[in-house]
């Protein structure tokens, strides 16, 4: 096991990693930007070090700053969390060159899965069904148009690097596609420093289902069930749950087993997530793999009782997984609500400010992962995630009931949050009967859900 871990992230995930390190009995150092000096992870840290200014490019995204901080504080491992440097194979390589362990897949593994198009080909070769798409990267606009014709419209333009919906556009006609290519290139370039794009066939009414896996260095892998992340706003997940209401028990088990078999065969290591689209008829298509701990990992933790962050750290330290598939039991139903500092009434505009009052809900099966506290000033420089409310129940209906109670109990004063949209969604028949699709919220508009909820109450 490691001596000391540098936590190279902020907000709730920095706190989550700090807790996992403590549970493992490993010392840790929280690396923070000037804007996060007063943040909760810094206050609770055993040790903290300022690595740069508020601008993430010079702090959380600066490989030299993070590695320098790890070296001077005597850390032998770096945990990148999610976002920032978490899937940067160049960073992982430089970390390793300094005899520090990157907590995630080794650089060679990250490199193998770095390109989304390459990963699709690799996973297809290992038996996963993939969504029809362009052959490799788009060389130019002409190539894009001819590939789109072959696949059939609508098509989704996607950047090869990164995620989170940046640089992604759905085009219904060649004319739309031509218009989007330039925008997507510049967005991808700005967000990931790489403007390579590819095309995928757009499935109009689909669901996003992802399988959580854990594979140790010895090629021993397990799946930890799946999560459904179909409630999205502009490709950003806002509610995640497990198990997925989209597939029956047999189909879910098939999907998870196929996924873990393929990913082990492809040489993956550490925790990871395989994302799939599920169409109206229950057909499953592999889209990408996330080589990091994900925002929504607590859903799986609630279902399995397994500490995923601790597992990730143990695997990176070279320990065997220590359990097999038959030891993994998925119990009940879990739902996660992302509480964001966004104003649903003003196009989800991010809000920053001081948290005047804060109350985290409690009770059986209720978990709040958040870095908020009363008096905390939310800085305007980073993403708007304030915390995650996760509820568990023996079945989906009881999880939804607990979710309603917990959302009503949550108090975050001083900032505008998206709590109202979660409350509205829990009143919506589409959510309650489990038939939400990824583009529903954008198509209908969140205001329609809040208005319907207001009428119903």
């Amino acid at each position: 096991m490691f001596r000391k871990v540098l936590i190279a992230n902020r907000g709730e995930i920095a706190l989550r990693i700090l807790r996992a390190c403590r549970a493992l009995g490993v010392e840790s150092v929280v690396a923070y930007s000037e804007a996060d000096r007063e943040s909760l992870p810094v206050q609770l840290a055993d040790e903290a070090i300022c690595i740069g200014p508020a601008d993430a490019r010079r702090s959380y995204l600066s490989a030299p700053a993070v590695i320098s901080a790890a070296l001077i504080t005597g850390c032998d491992a770096v945990h990148p969390g999610y976002g920032f440097l978490s899937e940067d194979e160049g960073f992982a390589e430089v970390v390793a060159a300094h005899d520090i362990t990157f907590i995630g897949p080794p650089a060679t593994v990250l490199e193998r899965f770095a390109s989304k198009a390459g990963t699709r080909q690799l996973m297809a070769a290992h038996g996963l069904p993939t969504i029809p798409g362009s052959e490799g990267m788009l060389r130019d606009d002409l190539h894009a148009l001819s590939e789109a014709d072959r696949i059939g419209y609508p098509v989704l333009v996607k950047p090869s690097a990164g995620g989170g919906g940046k640089g992604m556009r759905m085009a219904r006609t060649p004319r739309e596609l031509e218009g989007f290519l330039k925008v997507c290139r510049s967005e991808a370039k700005a967000a990931f420093g790489d403007d390579a794009l590819y095309l995928e066939k757009w499935l109009d009414e689909n669901r996003h289902v992802e399988v959580q896996v854990a594979v140790d260095r010895f090629g021993h892998g397990v799946h930890l069930g799946e999560r459904d992340c179909s409630v999205q706003r502009r490709h950003q997940k806002i509610i995640e749950e497990g198990p997925t209401p989209a597939l029956d028990a047999v189909a879910r088990a098939n999907l998870a087993e196929t996924a873990v078999r393929a990913v082990v065969a492809a040489g993956y290591e550490n925790v990871g997530t395989l994302e799939f689209l599920v169409d109206r008829d229950g057909n499953v298509f592999f889209i990408e793999i996330n080589c990091r701990i994900q925002v929504e990992h607590p859903v799986t933790e609630m279902l399995t009782g397994i500490d995923l962050v601790a597992t990730q750290i143990r695997i990176a330290a070279g320990e065997p997984l220590g359990f097999s598939q038959s030891d993994v039991t998925l119990r009940g139903h879990a739902i996660e609500f992302r509480i964001n500092a966004e104003d649903p009434e003003h196009d989800f505009r991010p809000s920053a400010g001081v948290v005047e009052r804060y109350h985290a809900p409690g009770g059986p099966g209720v978990r709040m992962d958040s870095h908020l506290f009363e008096g905390y000033e939310v800085p305007p420089f980073y993403d708007s995630l304030l915390g995650k409310l996760i509820v568990w129940g023996p079945d989906r209906a009881s999880a939804i009931a607990r979710g309603r109670v917990a959302l009503d109990e949550l108090v975050v004063d001083g900032l505008i949050t998206n709590t109202a949209i979660h409350q509205a969604l829990l009143q919506s028949e589409t959510f309650i009967d489990g038939s939400f699709t990824t583009n529903l919220l954008d198509r209908v508009g969140s205001a329609a859900f809040t208005a319907a909820a207001a009428r119903a109450s």
């Binding site: 000037e34 070090i49 300022c50 690595i51 740069g52 200014p53 702090s59 030299p64 700053a65 590695i67 320098s68 901080a69 070296l71 001077i72 504080t73 300094h98």
Partner: protein, 213 residues
């Protein structure tokens, strides 16, 4: 100006030679003595330093709770009248520790700047620079080595290199205070103002004090 009256009166019965010697002494004080004294106080960690030279006596006192030294009498003279007032005030303060105290605190408020670390890494000060050296705002004071990439530490103000807050080779974080720069001229306004107000109330004392000093 009525405040400078007593000093002017006093100067009138001093010889031209004596006056020019005073001016030379003040010049030397500013350019040579004071910077090296600041450095000395910074390096020793002493609370107070007093030096007598000829007719002059200079006392430096570290402000309470402060880590770096501050001169109680380092305002550059703007004209002959204020130089005289300054001289009178200095002598006065030498006799009255309570006033010295107050003035030193004022000096520390606006007479000091701190060079901070531009990066997380290992601090390497410039070898050819030592305490007491004059620097200008933007001058390189050293570098912080961030994974082999030197990030320049620059002076935040025109002044004199003062107390070093970290050692060469120390690990430093972003924004960490590294080096005190005693700002020359920064405290001039307040010290002069102080001199003027005390000058009127202690007119007799000053003229006697200067002669005795």
């Amino acid at each position: 100006m009525p405040e400078t009256g007593p000093s002017d009166a006093r100067r009138s019965h001093r010889s031209a030679v004596e006056r020019s010697a005073d001016h030379a002494a003040i010049e030397r004080l500013m350019t040579e003595l004071l910077p090296s004294l600041i450095a000395k106080l910074g390096a020793t960690g002493l609370g107070e330093l007093e030096v007598r030279e000829g007719q002059w006596r200079v006392r430096l006192r570290r402000p309470i709770g402060g880590r770096a030294p501050s001169a109680t009498s380092h305002a550059p003279a703007r004209d002959r009248a204020s130089r005289a007032a300054e001289r009178a005030d200095r002598a006065d303060r030498a006799e009255r520790p309570d006033r010295t105290e107050r003035s030193a605190e004022r000096g520390s408020d606006d007479g000091r700047a701190t060079a901070t670390s531009p990066a997380v890494g290992v601090y390497r000060p410039r070898r050819d620079l030592s305490a007491g050296d004059r620097v200008q705002a933007g001058d390189a004071l050293g570098a912080v080595d961030m994974l082999g990439i030197p990030q320049e530490v620059v002076s935040p103000a025109d002044g004199v290199v003062g107390l070093s807050l970290v050692e060469s080779g120390d690990a430093v974080e972003y924004g960490q205070p590294l080096l005190v720069i005693e700002v020359l001229g920064g405290g001039a306004g307040s010290t002069a103002a102080n001199a003027e107000t005390t000058g009127s109330s202690t007119a007799t004392d000053s003229s006697n004090g200067t002669g005795a000093g």
